[in-house]
Amino acid sequence: MEPDKVIKEKKPDSKWSEWGRLGKWNVVGYKIIEGNKGPRPDKLQRARYMLVNRPWDVMYEHSYGLVSRFFEGLLEKKLLGTKCPKCGDVFCPPRAHCWRNRCKLAETEWVEMPMHGILHCFTVLGFAGEAFLSDLPFILAYVRVEGANTLIAGRLVGMDPEDVECDMKVNIKFVEHPSGNPMDIYFVPEGPPLDRRPAEEKARMRRQLEPIRTWVKEKFGR
């Protein structure tokens, strides 16, 4: 059996090697609290408990499996999808096997996708997981790349959130330095706003997003 060989590699910065060992699950802080105990709000009793803080995190390593070619494509700034040789359905993001029973899990073939599509739906995030808080507010959209039977997620930039609408045409772009992450692609509107949303709704959204912008500026200085 031939041994595995590395075709291409980007080594993580050595600072990440410490990641999993940093906190070691030590108890680095605690609180002893007297609080209320009991299921019935009208019959609570005082009880003491202890809260502890333990730093812990992990470095993930996982493979992109049978659809790794898609992520290699991102590194090369090529948007790839897969196509079922039997029924012709096109998947972008890719599936390694067709989704239809009658195609009996046929293995799909790689195809290059056009860099444009239709925005199916969207949301404007006002809160997010920790890694994304400093980017708020941002627009996420599901786009149907032309010719695909599925939608692909990504950020939409270059438009005010209040102007975004379902069914807009968008172009797909690559970030300057792709890293093999689904976020290597993003969407930009192809033309001017469709301008079908009521003025009142747009004004309300502007008002609603203002405190989030202020919060992010204060917390992250951007």
Partner: protein
């Protein structure tokens, strides 16, 4: 009505909310002790021969393999114990598994429930934990959140059917009104449509008040073979229909994201099995993790036609005094959403309604109830139909 699959003879619910100073196992014990107290003829250790418990995530307490631990904490060792996971439908499928166990004859009397202890971790971390029920890497890595996923359904529903932010807000207002009547509810607070519209956007068009709560809580039921029920209670509640269906994990591979297809399929099976028509439902608990989810549940369960969910809430049909009161408990929106506990907590509410023990929120003469519990972006849906036993 069809003959029962299994029978609920008792139910217990912990107080939902921020329950600092308690482990998940202790929350579950709180729910179980209520269920045991309610059923004096039941000698738990002697009668209960199995435990099914739903829990979504090990990461809140860094504790896997909870089934034996829960069995221990409620005094059921060495009875076989099983943990099930389907994100927010974890205990919904636990209940189905318990029904199978009883139907198969392998178990006669089981304790089935769910638990989640979520509030110790910062909201941004809980958001990431819950996000694990969406597709990794193709959704999570874009910074998508569960509010974000349901917001996608909402913008699509609004574009296709003209559903409005005000209609979404009315779902929250209704469920908060109901929650005011439930002493176990996490948040007892009256709100107006104006409050909802003015609240902070979490994932537009969903604002803070469109979203359910991050809560700690546990729920459980004592489920028996229908033949044994009379030994334990004079007011049994039978499960007469049960359905479940699955869809793609990611939202991006669905035919139509404005329809909750899995709920439709699960409901069809449950209605047929129960030999019940939608018009016969007296009270329902549906999965209102976000206001849009309740609107889409109305449509998928057949309470109205596809696309008319917004109008149904406008017309007040699902209010406490309407034709089909929905989420009398306050729903996930006001009662709270400790995700693993939600499925059987819905069943607890229907149990209370059908036995006439729902107190200030009692729907008069309720005889037939329904629960709808979904997991993830409705990748799992479980629908059960219940009938009052006489």
């Amino acid at each position: 009505m069809a003959k029962p699959l299994a029978t609920i003879v008792s139910a217990g619910l912990s107080k939902f909310g921020v329950r600092e100073g308690l482990y998940a196992r202790e929350l579950f014990a709180e729910a179980a002790s209520e269920a045991f107290e309610r059923c004096p003829n039941l000698s738990p250790k002697k009668h209960i021969d199995g435990l099914f418990v739903g829990q979504m995530s090990e990461s809140y307490e860094h504790q896997a393999h909870i089934a034996p631990m829960i069995a221990d904490w409620v005094g059921l060792l060495p009875a076989p114990a099983y943990r099930t996971e389907a994100a927010c439908a974890s205990s919904g499928i636990a209940l189905r598994c318990a029904i199978f166990a009883i139907q198969s004859g392998m178990h006669d009397i089981v304790l089935v429930g769910g638990v989640e202890k979520m509030t110790n971790r910062p909201t941004a971390i809980v958001t990431e934990n819950l996000g694990m029920a969406s597709d990794f890497p193709l959704e999570q890595w874009h910074g998508i959140t569960f509010p974000g996923i349901f917001a996608m359904m909402a913008t699509a529903h609004m574009a296709k059917y003209g559903t409005t932010e005000e209609q979404l807000a009315k779902v929250a207002v209704k469920n908060h009104e109901n929650g005011m009547l439930n002493p176990k509810a996490h948040l007892q607070k009256k709100i107006t449509v104006g409050d909802v519209l003015a609240s902070r956007p979490v994932a537009w068009p969903l604002k803070l008040y469109d979203c359910s709560l991050i809560s700690d809580g546990a729920s459980c039921l004592v489920l028996t073979n229908p033949k044994l029920a009379k030994k334990f209670t004079d007011t049994p509640v039978h499960i007469v229909g049960s359905g479940q269906a699955q869809d793609t994990l990611g939202l991006f591979e669905r035919d139509d994201i404005t329809t909750m297809n899995v709920t439709k399929l699960a409901a069809k099976d449950a209605y047929e099995m129960a030999r019940i028509r939608v018009g016969q439902i007296d009270v329902a608990e549906v999965h209102d993790c976000f206001t849009i989810a309740e609107i889409m549940a109305y449509e998928a369960l057949g309470f109205c036609k596809q696309g008319e969910g917004g109008r149904l809430i406008d017309d007040g049909v699902t209010k406490m005094n309407g034709k089909i009161p929905v989420n009398t408990s306050g729903g996930l929106k006001s009662k709270g959403h400790p995700v693993g506990a939600t499925g059987t907590a819905q069943a607890c509410e229907i149990y209370l309604q059908l036995t006439g023990e729902a107190g200030k929120r009692q729907v008069k003469g309720a005889e037939i109830g329904l629960t709808q519990n979904i997991g993830g972006s409705a990748s799992t849906a479980v629908v059960q139909i219940y009938g009052r036993g006489d």
